[in-house]
Symmetry: C2
Subunit: 534 residues, 2 copies
């Protein structure tokens, strides 16, 4: 091979983000919400605190490659850990505070975390679990204890030379089956992801931006925004645990936030709040990134038409660092087309590639209609799970199996129609449980609905709708059928309806269809046949 003669060994590491904070954006601010106001520090001050933190970690015995855990909200101190731990060569393991206790015990022990930093407000929540952690040598509270550690050190640190492929962060993803699986981010993947996410066709991040990540830093790097901000010199506004619609909208106005990001339920709350509080000022916002679950077109449309805030949908997974696609269709699309396009999962980010694989292993065309399991690859896609050979079936010939059933159009724009394990296989065709649920939930009497496949001798599977009726409301199976008839193909109509008090949820708040299927198998669902032809 004839080599290029550029500095190709110059590593892409998070140390460079720290370098820019210190040397090029020292005056930029990080603001953290508190009980009754805001705390502030500059990037220059934070860089010095990171130096002290690195020195403290070293004194506490943290070695290159060691895992250091956090159990914390989005705050300046969490940002300091985001930078210090990987920049001194160790691995930041962000614990999802909403996991079930047994999952937390599993992942802390599986990762063999050495230190654990915990928010003052979360000390009590963590306490009952601590005795189950087998490797944690010290638990440090992100309050006075943390400040004392920093104060005991000098603001300087001799940073090691790092390989760009070395591990920087660890985040476990909990499916509905088996133990959580660890995704190990590299320095390289974080830097490349930060660049791509900052491009104009993604979040268009500039040093003049102010980013408020509502999505937690314990959830796939807060979608990469803290690292992108540090690299590009954008201001960060950290909500800590104050994530009510009221506090968020006040922070948007007080700090002139330009970019924010969170899951759909956050924006539903904020939309509701804005509709009721005319005085709220969100005029500084130029983008509310939304992902983690399919974003309804109605939400996007309402936000833009009523409050002039573009809700931009992104798609990705913990395994994709996490942003893999962003939906920013051209501005000039006419309204109907526009909302439909915006409700897609969006176009693949540069440097990522995708393909669709049918049930029989064939590559499916990008025709905007044909569906298959979406597989992706590229420099910020996982190639394996941490110490988990059982997870190997998620990787296929250099590609990540996303578990999503999707179509792709001729511009590489993704439309996810279902999770592969939730799709209902009926007569050789697929019924999208998600599309069916959305159609059912459009009925005014329905609060929630989850659709699962029932085994069926002739058709393999047929849809069963599990429905939660709203308080004080009523609907019969036949009324539901009538409601659905104009909305979906006839063979999609559920054979049966089961009325339930609530849809069981996973630890991250998604419908737990595995639990529903178990209740179905155990005969615990109160099922009603629909119509005569079912």
């Amino acid at each position: 091979m004839l080599e290029g003669l550029m500095q190709d060994d110059h590593p892409l590491t998070l140390q460079h983000a720290l370098w820019r904070m210190r040397h090029m954006n020292a005056a930029q601010e990080v603001v953290t919400l508190t009980e009754d106001g805001y705390e502030r520090a500059t990037y220059g001050e934070i860089a010095e605190r990171v130096d002290r933190l690195c020195a403290a970690l070293k004194e506490l015995g943290v070695q290159p490659g060691d895992r250091v855990a956090t159990f914390a909200w989005n705050t300046q101190r969490h940002l300091e850990l985001y930078l210090a731990v990987p920049c001194m060569g160790a691995v930041l393991h962000t614990l999802n505070i909403r996991l079930f206790p047994e999952q937390l015990t599993y992942i802390v022990n599986h990762a063999e975390d050495k230190l654990l930093f915990v928010d003052e407000s979360l000390v009590d929540a963590l306490a009952p679990l601590e005795e189950t952690f087998e490797t944690v040598e010290r638990r440090i509270v992100l309050g006075d204890e943390y400040e004392e550690l920093l104060a005991a050190q000098e603001p300087r640190f001799d940073y090691p030379e790092l390989d760009e492929r070395s591990a920087a962060g660890l985040c476990y993803t909990s499916g509905t089956t088996g133990n959580p699986k660890g995704v190990m981010y590299s320095h390289r993947s974080n830097i490349l992801h930060s660049l791509a996410c900052s491009l104009p066709d993604a979040a268009a991040i500039s040093r003049t931006d102010n980013i408020l990540p509502v999505v937690p830093m314990f959830h796939a790097n807060a979608w990469g925004y803290p690292y992108a901000a540090a690299l590009l010199g954008a201001k960060l506004t950290m909500p800590s645990r104050f994530i009510t619609a009221e506090r968020l909208t006040k922070a948007f106005a007080d700090e002139k936030v330009t970019i924010t990001c969170g899951v759909p339920t956050v924006w539903l709350d904020v939309l509701h709040y804005l509709d009721e509080h005319e005085e709220a000022d969100v005029s500084s916002l130029r983008m509310a990134m939304c992902g983690g679950a399919a974003v309804p077109a109605s939400l996007i449309q309402a936000f833009e038409e009523r409050h002039d805030v573009p809700v931009i949908q992104g798609w990705g997974m913990t395994e994709t660092n996490p942003v893999a696609s962003v939906s920013r269709p051209p501005e000039e699309l006419e309204s109907e087309e526009r909302w439909t396009a915006r409700a897609r999962q969006g176009r693949l980010q540069p440097l990522l590639e995708a393909r669709l694989i049918s049930e029989d292993g064939e590559v499916v065309a990008w025709d905007g209609e044909s569906t298959g399991e979406l597989e992706v690859r590229g420099p910020w896609v996982a190639r394996a799970y941490y110490e988990d050979p059982e997870g190997a079936d998620k990787f296929h010939d250099g590609w990540l199996r996303t578990g999503d059933i999707a179509s792709l159009d001729d511009e590489g724009s993704i439309r996810v129609s279902d999770r592969a394990k939730d799709v209902i296989k009926s007569g050789g065709e697929w019924i999208s449980s998600v599309d069916l649920e959305n159609a059912i939930m459009a009925h005014p009497a329905v609060r929630e609905a989850a659709v699962i496949g029932m085994p069926h001798e002739r058709w393999t599977e047929r849809p069963l709708a599990c429905v939660v009726v709203g308080e004080g409301k009523e609907v019969t199976p036949d009324e539901l059928r009538e409601h659905l008839t104009p909305l979906v193909a006839k063979w999609w109509l559920p054979d049966e309806v089961a009325f339930v008090d609530e849809i069981p949820k996973t630890s991250v708040g998604k419908f737990d269809k595995k639990a529903l299927r178990a209740r179905l198998a155990d005969g615990e669902l109160d099922r009603h046949a629909v119509g005569a032809e079912a």
Copy 2:
């Protein structure tokens, strides 16, 4: 080392840009100016032509690592070569058509070019040199001959797996001393450079943009715009050899160009044209990138105030792929501050680092005033010249010596004050020849001025101003002194003035101060002492 578990082996190569052209931006257009109009092709069509071209190159015996030269303007066919040659594993060597003949002979033979593609319009210019080329097996004219090569192949090619560090392109840079030196770009450097140049704080390139690169593709990758456009799906408008202000402004309007780039003289011509042609419509332009030489604040201000086009200055070298910094200060600066800030060379791109080194090898502070030689490093900075051990003194401990004397402020914004070899060392201090030239050229009777150091027993050197007086105008040495007195420090005032008919230029159009110094040493300059105190 604990490795990350992302796809860190997934290479960053230009094959991905081709992949996106084919799969995600097939409908996007490339438009090329012709004698009397435009030629058009889509990215999808170009991707197929690239497949054919790769097959043709292979049939012509091009092996991985072989050098394939071009002698061509900015056209669709040149873009096809930009993609095909590196994507099939060979190295694209872009010949600067403006080099002196002996330099062209030197670089073709030094690079051992195997094939040479030449524009029809340049066949005659190249002809006298061809017999001096020792390794070129075939010269292919970018007209019918090229089309026949493509037509003979199928539109498919089995692309090799490439290492991201493999060579992709070769461009020689001609200093004023010694032979031209070859900079060998890697796939990785081109991809990372494309991403960084497309960020909002740089050129902010989106798929909705239309880029017209006036800067030639034989000049440091046309500043990286063709690759960035291909990667991000922007439209390209290629001017070919039709680069008069009239044709360029017409193309801006006809094709609704949003981004253009070129050296200051191009924009001076266009400014002049726009001032005289009120009907010209440049309203689609949101940015005219300018670099290659210091951009006068007056040009930036005139363009923006009179024609609402932001002229954005960038800085870089062939050795930096080439864009290393971009000057986009915050919009809200007040006018005076704004033009001064915009006339700086701008802030370092993400992933690049800089330092200033004094004459005695000390690191100089970033205080906005202290100057030193600018050194840069990062993933798109050269680490060596191609087969040229004599060039090793340009590299210093992992850093590239840029040869520019500069200051840096506390935001990492560069202000280049002079070339290191041109700075005048007087009494232990430095006088910027560039600043002095600009002050002299502000005199209405002066058309051009170059300042060089004259050896001086007491002060080491003192400035000599070589001045070209405008047609029909007159100025005396003492009038120049009077003009300069309020503009520069007293000890900067030139001791002598030499009136010359023209300033000698290098092959790339820069002042050839080495030639002036030779004329000074040979006693060929007609020098006049200035004032009594000199």
